[in-house]
């Protein structure tokens, strides 16, 4: 039996420590990991807890992120509760195996500490790696601060391991801005946290020797399409109700309420910024200041990035006049991902909001409150004229002459 760790009601933890503590409290059986900044302290933390007797589990050191996820896939197919963490180039190396994990319906939890992808090499936070995972068939949850990184890990285990779901899940947090920023985190006791996640219920596990199974089979044009369709069916129909149920149960337990789409001052908002990660909270503070001046601004934060909350967003945005989508990733050749997703969510709804796109914060570049005030001024002008008053895609916080496209 693992030892219990006594925690204070509020611990000052950074996002990495919060995630590592959640992996300990969920009593993860296997972590196969390869270190990469800024996610390293998560798996290092799990290894330390294990070495000190606070976890009954296995820590498997491997030679690459590709091997780390491969090890996780093997351990999950064998029938264990499995998790790991990565960032950036390591995430990129993991991508091939991410599709195997979701296609094999293995509920692995991957903490992705979002970081830029080189070249140029950069260790700081942006959303390039998170966006790279968006077609991989994983559930993607996004934390805006260390408290969320802690809480969403428990939610992720509960949803992913549900036998109606059986899909892997990523918990994203912003590199450094969350992962290395210490803030107060309201803790759960080891017992309460473990009971919320529940005992791992294996399914089709290879260690059930009375029911031998072959995992990772090959299908060609005869059955591949049906397998992928069934996977999409689960992601599209089973996941959202389970996430909402887990959010409700978590709120009843802790008082902390999470939503598939987070909104702030959206009831009567004429302008809205849509973004992810720490930017959501900074935008909330800016909205408070704008509201004090009588400006009806709001914020929409994506909490569940995959499956994409299309209907929820269409409902939330139906009365907004101007929307700014903020992408912390270079779209390389098109509009930003959030622009695309929001445009797609609204296209058949009759909503006629003016929609534009901001590329910001690449490689950890600061998103200041002043930048956000400028964005809301653009949106206000768009709302008043009912048409785009700026280029469609603008770069903000960039040196030199203004850069924009479309």
């Amino acid at each position: 039996m693992a030892d219990t760790m006594e925690l204070r009601d509020i611990e000052v933890w950074d996002g990495n420590m919060a995630a590592a503590q959640a992996l300990r409290q969920a009593q993860v059986d296997v972590v196969a990991a390869y270190p990469i900044t800024p996610s390293t302290p998560i798996v290092e933390g799990y290894a330390t807890f294990k070495a000190n007797g606070y976890v009954d589990g296995e820590f498997v050191m491997v030679e690459s992120e590709h091997a780390a996820m491969s090890g996780c896939i093997g351990a999950a197919a064998a029938g264990g509760r499995v998790a790991t963490a990565t960032s950036s180039q390591g995430f990129a190396l993991m991508v091939e195996t991410l599709y195997s994990a979701s296609g094999m319906r293995l509920p692995i939890i991957l903490n992705v500490v979002n970081r830029a992808i080189g070249a140029p090499l950069n260790v700081n936070g942006d959303h390039s790696d998170m966006y790279m995972g968006r077609d991989s068939g994983w559930i993607q949850l996004d934390a805006y601060n260390p408290q969320h990184a802690y809480d969403l890990n428990f939610i992720a285990f509960k949803v992913a391991e549900d036998h109606d779901v059986r899909l892997p899940a990523m918990v994203h947090q912003d590199g450094f801005m969350t992962s290395h920023t210490a803030q107060g985190v309201c803790t759960l006791s080891d017992e309460v946290a473990y009971n919320f996640v529940g005992e791992f219920q294996p399914m089709n596990d290879m260690l059930d020797l009375d029911h031998p199974v072959t995992h990772g089979v090959q299908t060609e044009e005869d059955w591949h399409f049906e397998h992928k369709a069934r996977q999409q069916h689960a992601l599209m129909t089973a996941v959202m109700p389970k996430i909402e149920a887990a959010f409700a149960e978590f709120e009843a337990l802790t008082g902390r309420k999470y939503n598939v789409v987070e909104t702030y001052q959206m009831d009567d908002a004429q302008t809205a910024v849509i973004c992810m990660g720490t930017s959501v909270e900074t935008a909330m503070e800016v909205v408070d200041e704008l509201r004090a001046q009588g400006i009806k601004a709001g914020v929409v934060g994506i909490r569940v990035f995959r499956p994409w909350p299309l209907e929820q967003l269409a409902e939330i945005l139906k009365n907004v006049k101007a929307i700014g989508t903020l992408d912390r990733s270079s779209p390389h050749g098109t509009v930003g991902t959030l622009y695309n997703e929001i445009a797609g969510s609204l296209f058949n709804t009759g909503v006629k909001a003016v929609l534009n796109n901001y590329i910001y914060g690449l490689g950890g570049r600061d998103l200041t409150k002043a930048h956000l005030v400028g964005i809301y001024q653009d949106l206000q002008a768009n709302a008043e004229s009912g048409t785009l008053t700026t280029p469609l895609q603008q770069y903000i916080g960039l040196r030199g002459p203004k850069l924009s496209f479309f």
Partner: protein, 136 residues
């Protein structure tokens, strides 16, 4: 495999070997195992063959080479004795004949339609080792 819709199979790229629980599988003969429909044991590839191997036990020394080398586990062996060939799964590749070390071989390839008794009656005699000429 029975035709099913997109939701007619279990999730994941996963197949069960057996229907229901199994115990002591190692000591249960293949024909007595409850192989599932998804297991290739229930599928026949007999029609793939053009030539088939036939077994002549008069010459067999039970070395088990054919059993080891057969890529489709189609050599039936009991208590380390060669018994015969599983013609549901043999594709007629001829590897068993290739590796058979006896003289004459205990396994030989014949056309699929060849009568077994006729084949056994025609089995070749032991080859005499001749001094190879022309080799220095």
């Amino acid at each position: 495999m029975e035709k099913a819709g997109w939701d007619g199979f279990e999730i994941g790229a996963m197949l069960r070997s057996f229907d229901g629980a199994i115990q002591d599988i190692a000591t249960t003969l293949p024909e007595d195992r409850a192989y599932s429909q998804a297991n290739s044991f229930t599928a026949s590839v007999a029609d793939w063959r053009i030539n088939k191997p036939l077994f002549n036990k008069d010459y067999c020394i039970d070395c088990q080479f054919c059993w080891i080398y057969c890529p489709d586990m189609s050599i039936i062996s009991r208590d380390k004795k060669m018994v015969g060939i599983d013609f549901d799964h043999c594709k007629g590749c001829g590897i068993c004949v290739e590796v058979c070390p006896t003289n004459p071989k205990s396994l030989l390839m014949f056309p699929e339609q060849k009568d077994e008794d006729e084949a056994l009656a025609q089995w070749p005699q032991k080859e005499k080792k001749e001094k190879e000429a022309g080799v220095e």
